[in-house]
Symmetry: C2
């Protein structure tokens, strides 16, 4: 299956700024992207990175400087279904996770993310489009309904866990099995408990 | 399968205090418990509530005033495996979710929750015990290893989403299909977007 993986190659993961420098944010974002691409390829998918500027990586890259939503919708318009889109900040995904996503039967298959996000989807309907503003899962249910599709949702913690904020790094250390977890460990990050909450320290 | 569902009937969900009064917290916690019990029964499970004080509910209740960990470990010690434990604050679970948990083959099957929690598990080994302090998923992996079990993890967003804080209520409104979501809607809660973050307002 053709899989588009959007990637902000310019100034990624700004909400990790409190714990990572600018160069580190880019390096960590690349490590997460590499994990996601490996999972997709391990599940037999055919990934293309849709990046905001050229990057050197071992899969095809399309450069599109526009906002995420426009870049994704243009790819959907010009690609024969089935097509999948998987976010690049999901370092918990494994080949088995992506295989589950691909294997669910449905014209539109959505993988919800925390706080109303849509972290991945498969469309087998040529008219499905995305709207990534605010609680996008609601919009994607409505967009599917508008083309008379009853969307199916895949129930996955690994697909649902996108890494945006410092507290999210604990998820990578607790559950990641790839390069992003290794990246954090090599730079001295470890799980720390403060006031009963699980976080990280360096 | 015998399923124990621990429930704080005394002062539940204190972190929801900013948005719910004391009586409301108990009422909402009961609505979540009811959803969880319905999902367990819908999957063919045989639930027993382990409550800190007597409650009136249509399934067997055992009262145990001790901390969660002691109450659960005593039940595990006195019950013939297989046994499951499912937390009561998982209003996104459906019968299908619980059926997945029950169906995974493994001597110890863990369902990770956010921030290192263990929101549910099945044990088919008589010596598995719990440790709910801090990042419990790490402890449960270690406890399983100590009895020479390689634990299996079930990858479920619905099992992984426990409701502790006001922001978590958005998950109930976005994904809940039972009484807890209805409870919130009836009391005027709805999704609200502030500073690009998804939350709730009343």
């Amino acid at each position: 299956m053709r899989v588009f993986v959007p990637f902000d190659a310019s100034d990624p993961k700004t909400r990790l700024d409190p714990v990572l420098g600018t160069d580190e944010r880019l390096s960590f974002a690349r490590a997460m992207l590499t994990d996601v691409l490996a999972a997709i390829e391990g599940a037999g998918g055919d990934p293309t990175v849709v990046a905001t500027e050229p990057i050197d990586i071992q899969v095809p890259v399309t450069v599109d400087e526009r906002p995420l939503q426009d870049a994704v919708n243009d790819r959907l318009a010009e690609t024969v279904v089935p097509t999948a889109v998987v976010m690049s900040d999901l370092p918990l995904v494994t080949p088995e996770t992506i295989d589950r996503l691909f294997s669910v039967d449905g014209a539109v298959v959505l993988a919800p993310g925390r706080s109303g996000g849509t972290n991945a989807f498969v469309t087998r309907h040529p008219d499905f489009r995305v709207d990534y503003h605010d609680a996008s899962i609601r919009d994607h249910r409505a967009i599917a309904a508008a083309i008379e599709v009853d969307p199916v949702e895949v129930d996955s913690y690994r697909l649902g866990t996108d890494i945006d904020e410092p507290a999210d790094l604990a998820e990578v250390l607790l559950h990641g099995e790839g390069g992003a977890a290794e990246w954090l460990r090599e730079r001295g990050f470890e799980i720390a408990i403060a006031d009963g909450r699980v976080g990280v320290e360096r």
